[in-house]
């Protein structure tokens, strides 16, 4: 068992590493477009180029991959004269990057060619004063200083530089002259739980993604818990009646539900229960974070939609498994012995027949995740699915990458558990 676990864990790590490569380089193709999204279609090439630099997109692809994966603070620390550190923002509670200058949290800002130091006092206020920093001379003779700016970048400031920088602020694009020349967006990397800033919201991806994932989990878990007994029951019922009309009805209904796209089922449920009968809300409106618990009615239609998508699949596997077991020699022996049919089914067949579906279902988690995405978009549930969808529409590659990595991780872990459960339950595999 231990050997099995180690081998599977290793394989999982290799898979996740390859997934990260695939994901990064698929998204890499998009690189330039996000500046158009952020700046609008009327932005000049200079503005876009400047923004690209501020997002650190001018670094080579492998460098950004390493930054994304394991963080850029290692390499930034080598450049910065002061130690880098993270501190929570007193208002939002989100982690921000600072440097520690003589024990005081400090960041810098360039205003009209003058470098200003922003110091965080112990009581959380910020004091701005003209900075006195140790400028160093680089190989071209220019005076440079690497420091943290207010947007979580390590910036290379050059004294007396006349390079124009176009900063995107809430009021639009602002021109700044003289100063910042190179940006390294500071992040701890996805393996250390920091997926960078969302380009769409300008907040850390990891600050939103987990609460979103919790909503999705509730949705998926509710559907899963409700559909499993139902699908297993009907699957067994179809399996013991193989070839009879009851089997046909269950099998065709199941196939129908599985083959119908989730959004079609959802749309019909909305039409019937939301619009004609007016029994249930047609969309899920989340006024508060715990809306699911305050008003469980909003979950009914989404859960029903997911159940329809899963039902056919589980029922089908259960049926196939049951049919196989019912044809096996030991069941025939039981019949020949003259045992009552009911007893054969419940005592002899059921246990073996249910082993396959319960574990195989876990291998099909990807199917469920896909359904969750569609259902969340359809009903407007703020979960992981709608998060990745919104990010994909915007072209917010940091958010897409993080959310995709999270879904893949969930899928891979679940499959690993499914594999292990199957091996544990099935001695034939365990000792093979």
């Amino acid at each position: 068992m231990a050997k099995f676990l180690v081998r599977n864990l290793f394989s999982m790590f290799v898979t996740m590493f390859l997934v990260s490569l695939v994901l990064f380089f698929l998204l890499e193709v998009a690189g330039g477009d996000v500046t158009v999204r952020l700046l609008g279609v009327f932005a000049t090439p200079e503005q876009r180029e400047s923004l690209r630099r501020q997002l650190g997109l001018d670094a080579p692809a492998w460098q950004r991959y390493v930054d994304w994966l394991i963080g850029s603070d290692w390499r930034a620390q080598q450049l910065s004269p002061y130690p880098l550190t993270m501190a929570p923002n007193p208002q939002t509670g989100e982690q921000e990057w600072w440097t520690e200058v003589d024990g005081v949290l400090t960041r810098w800002r360039m205003v009209e060619g003058e470098l200003l130091a922003i110091q965080r006092t112990p009581d959380g206020r910020e004091v701005t004063s003209p900075a006195s920093v140790p400028w160093t001379t680089d190989e071209t003779g220019a005076e440079v200083f690497w420091g943290v700016d207010t947007r979580n970048n390590l910036v290379k400031w050059v004294r007396g530089s006349d390079l124009e920088v176009l900063v995107l602020s809430k009021a639009g694009v602002r021109s700044e002259r003289g100063g910042p020349q190179q940006y390294i967006p500071l992040r701890k990397g996805i393996v250390r739980g920091d997926a960078g800033m969302s380009l769409q919201t300008n907040r850390p991806v990891s600050a939103t993604i987990f609460s979103r994932a919790a909503n999705s989990l509730i949705l998926a878990a509710a559907a899963f818990v409700l559909v499993m007994p139902l699908a297993l029951f009907f699957g067994v019922l179809a399996g013991v009646n193989e070839g009879k009309p009851l089997d046909r009805i269950i099998s065709i209904t199941g196939l129908g539900f599985t083959a119908t796209p989730e959004f079609v089922v959802g749309v019909f449920l909305i039409l019937i229960f939301g619009i004609w009968l007016r029994w249930l809300p047609a969309t899920a409106v989340f006024l508060t974070g715990d809306a699911i618990f305050r008003d469980p009615k909003i979950l009914v239609l989404p859960v029903l939609t997911l159940m329809a998508a899963e039902f056919g699949y589980v029922a089908r596997i259960t049926r196939a498994s049951m049919v196989e077991v019912m044809q096996s020699p030991y069941i025939r022996t039981a019949f020949i012995k003259g045992l009552p049919r009911r007893r054969i089914i419940f005592r002899h067949a059921l246990r073996n027949a249910l082993m396959a579906p319960i574990t195989v279902v876990m291998l099909q988690i990807n199917w469920l995740i896909g359904g969750v995405i569609v259902v969340e978009v359809l009903f407007g549930i703020p979960g992981l699915g709608s998060y990745i969808y919104d990010a994909a529409i915007f072209g917010d590659f940091n958010a897409v990458a993080a959310a995709a990595m999270l879904t893949v991780l969930i899928a891979v872990m679940t499959r690993l558990i499914g594999d292990m459960l199957y091996t544990y339950l099935n001695p034939r595999i365990r000792f093979a």
């Binding site: 290799v14 390859l18 994901l23 988690i365 990807n366 896909g370 969808y389 994909a392 529409i393 899928a411």
Partner: protein, 308 residues
């Protein structure tokens, strides 16, 4: 498998007519496959008809918006005052009948996005799978490990990532279906190859000194075509499913040609004003996918029955 004595008749390959008749016999012997085929052929017929005739031009905004079904518009009109039945008819085209290579100038090739996507998946997946299975060793491990990484993605997430990076268009959707489909095909073909490669005729070809590619393309793949074809049929169903879902998510086939998924997506914003407008295209997608699935499923059951 069984080894039969070679008689003169067996040297000749069965004629094409005979092959078609055998295949049809297989379909006719399964009621499920028949029903599925009937539904799929209905939509194919509707699509072919729509190439020459629709009640109204599918993109003409010639009626008042959001009409319920009436004598002039059998299924009503959509939010822009277009005839829904005409649009549904024309909606089969992008899925099954035509692919737009570029919008300006308009270049259209026959064969729908779903069809080309599945062909792409079968070609790419087939080549990868047969190479992995036949060559074995390190090549096998590398190919399968990379494909495992793709399989680890939930399909829709992979679609979202691809569409994020590549944008929208018929070719992008084809590429997305190819990328998401080929790992599955590769796994299947690899399994079949591992089985076929132990046969005597492969030994014979190797002894003759045939090249590896000859053996893979002329000896192994043709002998694996049955399961591959059934799998491909199932994949056409998935592809239509996926195109519908992408269209619904607003990431599907670009306008102006009507696309069922996008029609659902547009109509659901007006669901209170015109509830039926959302039902028709949803019904169309569901029936087509179910039809193709029933067909593939029935076919598979029949073939499995003979193999048992």
């Amino acid at each position: 498998m069984t080894t039969a004595a070679t008689t003169p008749e067996m040297d000749k390959r069965p004629s094409l007519l005979r092959q078609v008749r055998d295949a049809l016999d297989l379909v006719f012997s399964s009621r499920t496959a028949m029903v599925g085929l009937a539904i799929a052929l209905f939509w194919l017929g509707v699509g072919l008809l729509s190439l020459f005739w629709t009640p109204y031009p599918p993109n003409a905004q010639m009626f008042s918006a959001n009409q319920p079904p009436n004598a002039a518009n059998w299924m009503g009109t959509d939010h822009l005052g277009r005839d829904i039945w005409s649009r549904i008819m024309a909606g089969t085209q992008v899925v099954l009948l035509k692919t737009r290579l570029s919008a300006d100038p308009p270049i259209v090739i026959p064969g729908g996005v779903a069809i080309w996507g599945v062909i792409g998946a079968v070609v790419v997946g087939g080549l990868l799978g047969v190479n992995a299975g036949y060559r074995g060793g390190i090549a096998d491990q590398i190919i399968m490990q990379i494909l495992d990484a793709f399989i680890a993605f939930p399909v829709i997430v992979l679609y979202l990532v691809i569409v994020t990076s590549l944008g929208r268009g018929d070719l992008i959707v084809i590429a997305a279906i190819t990328i998401t489909g080929s790992p599955g095909v590769a796994r299947l073909v690899r399994g079949l190859t591992l089985d076929i490669k132990t046969r005597d005729y492969i030994r014979a070809a190797e002894t003759r000194g045939e090249s590896k590619w000859y053996i893979m393309l002329r000896e192994i793949l043709p002998n694996a075509r049955g399961p591959i074809l059934v799998d491909a049929m199932l994949r056409v169903g998935y592809a239509i499913f996926a195109i519908g879902t992408l269209g619904f998510l607003g990431l599907g086939l670009p306008p102006p040609d009507p696309d069922w998924g996008s029609m659902v997506n547009d109509a659901r914003k007006y669901i209170y004003a015109n509830p039926l407008a959302v039902a028709w295209p949803a019904l169309a997608i569901a029936t087509l996918v179910i039809g193709v699935n029933l067909f593939a499923d029935g076919l598979r059951e029949e073939i499995m029955r003979y193999q048992r």
